[in-house]
Subunit: 340 residues, 2 copies
């Protein structure tokens, strides 16, 4: 980094620091001739506005943070694309933090973000997160905060989600209509908002179709891929095997396919599979996978737009507390009805 | 954000600003009793160290930037995972910038990063990037810089790449050994280092197997998915159709499968396909796809480690200018030999 400061520049030009500063900001108080002189000198000595000094003056970091469980996942990387599309327009910088589904790490991240590094925060909770004190701390300090996808439902902050209940209802109804009667529900947490609402949708669809709820078909996975594969193998080796799988998050869909392949269980003949997923490749799997596609990019864009409204506090129109963007069922071969 | 500054805290405690500041930094110059008083007061009034004031003093932003073409792509999101694993250990923050394969945007990003916002930069070039002046600007200002994957080969900065020539050679050799004679080479740019070296590997493998090089089989795609699909349709509708495809980047593999499906071209019977890819799902495609898996996570981790060495200027051991991490061929059904 160049160490040439505004002061040195002023000395070399034999002008006051205030004059140089105003000239660099193209102020009307400074003559065109002086501005030209200052700009030429600044260029000659490779002068760059010191970002931190400038931030201190404006009390804005022009930076937002996105705190989320992981990134090597189609859903979250599409969200970032959406966030970036808005941040770039606004001239904002985007810091990425990964909790790796770990509550303590999520707390450490939000604690560190309270000190002026960012002007606002977007967060999606880890699967371990059971309390929201760390987020309430941010609220107390008036930090602009938007939750997305995995939200804390009781907090009075803007939340951007998909229609979890309704999309789960539609997915399970689809499985039932195509002949399933023993549908396993795979989740990653008991506590996450998405899980609760998707489970409610699952139960409501069973009820609407007069299929009794069976708690043995609820399988809670973890963040450990090897363990999940083990659990799925157990599930699919049961005497009374499920005839349908409803995977409530994308990361559980691939292991289902892998385990079925390994155990020679045919999809969709022996078992039907549906999963939340944004993978373009779902259509090319053997068999192609029926998915519930979430509006990931739009969720990122919308969350960021709301966050910038909070940061800029522009206008008098109230910011909606709940924004719900619809997911779409895309039926493919993994759930096709088999006529015997 | 709380507006309580160090000055107000000092006034309330009737101490000097220097004393309060030293107490908060746990200086040995301050008595334990005073430290306790300061810490209690700071807690009472919700005092937070102002990040920017603190950065200005230390001349460190504790932030690095990663500039890359896109993020909704398995390779780049795995790289970020690798970078984050090191940054988190070092207590550093990670800014993400996407060029969206646009040269002007890449230039605008690097220009803005010269002003003290970050302590170092990792970059992977856009497919449009043909000159490196914007990176040389960073060098002139002594900005720590590491290039990864898509690098500027002539620049004297640390570069982390995969064995592009060798892995392409092995991939094309694999296609030739399984019966291909007309192998199309799909790329996204003429200029990128990865493209040049993979093309050299392709040509060398043909030569080693006495198959003449045919420039009609070089297909340069763009950043426009619809256009790429159109180009691939044309390629695969030719009278003298290729019998093998070597996709030099992951984003071209999926359209190949889609177009083959649409045109009823059987993989691997009519055409064999191999692609650089890190997708876990490659094994589950119909047919499973032969891939060259890049060490994406390790490339991110290694690049970040080198960047931190540059930032910290620790030790006297020279930093290697070229770090090459090996990719691995994973043979699957899309390239299986057909015995007629």
């Amino acid at each position: 980094m160049s160490n040439i400061t505004l002061a040195i520049l002023a000395e070399e030009l034999q002008l006051s620091i205030a004059t140089v500063s105003k000239a660099l900001r193209d102020s009307h108080e400074i003559s065109t001739a002086t501005k030209k002189r200052v700009l030429k000198k600044a260029k000659d000595v490779n002068y760059q506005v010191n970002h931190f000094a400038s931030s201190l003056r404006k009390k804005k970091s022009k930076t937002i943070a996105v705190v989320m469980p992981e990134i090597a996942n189609n859903f979250f990387s599409l969200v970032i694309n959406g966030v970036e599309s808005v941040a770039q327009q606004k001239g904002y910088h985007v810091l990425i933090y990964l909790s790796h589904e770990n509550f303590n790490r999520e707390k450490a991240i939000t604690a560190e973000l309270q000190n002026g590094r960012v002007d606002g925060i977007m967060a999606s909770l880890s699967m371990e997160t059971t309390s929201t004190e760390h987020l309430e701390e941010l609220q107390k300090k008036n930090m602009p905060l938007v939750l997305f996808d995995r939200v804390a439902e009781n907090m009075a902050v803007p939340k951007v989600t998909t229609n979890d209940f309704e999309s789960a209802f539609i997915a399970v109804k689809h499985l039932l209509e195509n002949g399933c009667r023993r549908i396993a529900f795979l989740s990653v947490s008991n506590c996450l908002s998405i899980n609760k609402n998707r489970l409610k949708g699952y139960k409501a669809a069973l009820k609407a179709n007069a299929v009794p709820f069976n708690s043995e078909l609820l399988v809670q996975c973890t963040n450990d891929d090897a363990k999940n594969t083990g659990q799925l193998k157990k599930l699919l080796s049961r005497k009374k095997r499920p005839d349908g799988i409803f995977a409530s998050v994308e990361k559980l869909a691939v292991p289902c396919y892998e385990v079925c392949n390994e155990l020679n269980i045919r999809i969709p003949e022996d078992i039907k599979i549906i999963s939340y997923s944004n993978l373009q490749l779902a259509a090319l799997l053997a068999p192609s996978m029926t998915t519930i596609a979430q509006p990931a990019f739009d969720m990122g864009r919308e969350s960021a737009s709301i966050l910038f409204k909070l940061i800029e506090k522009k206008g008098v129109s109230p910011i909606p507390e709940n924004t719900v963007l619809k997911s779409t069922l895309i039926p493919r071969n993994s759930t096709v009805a088999i006529h015997k």
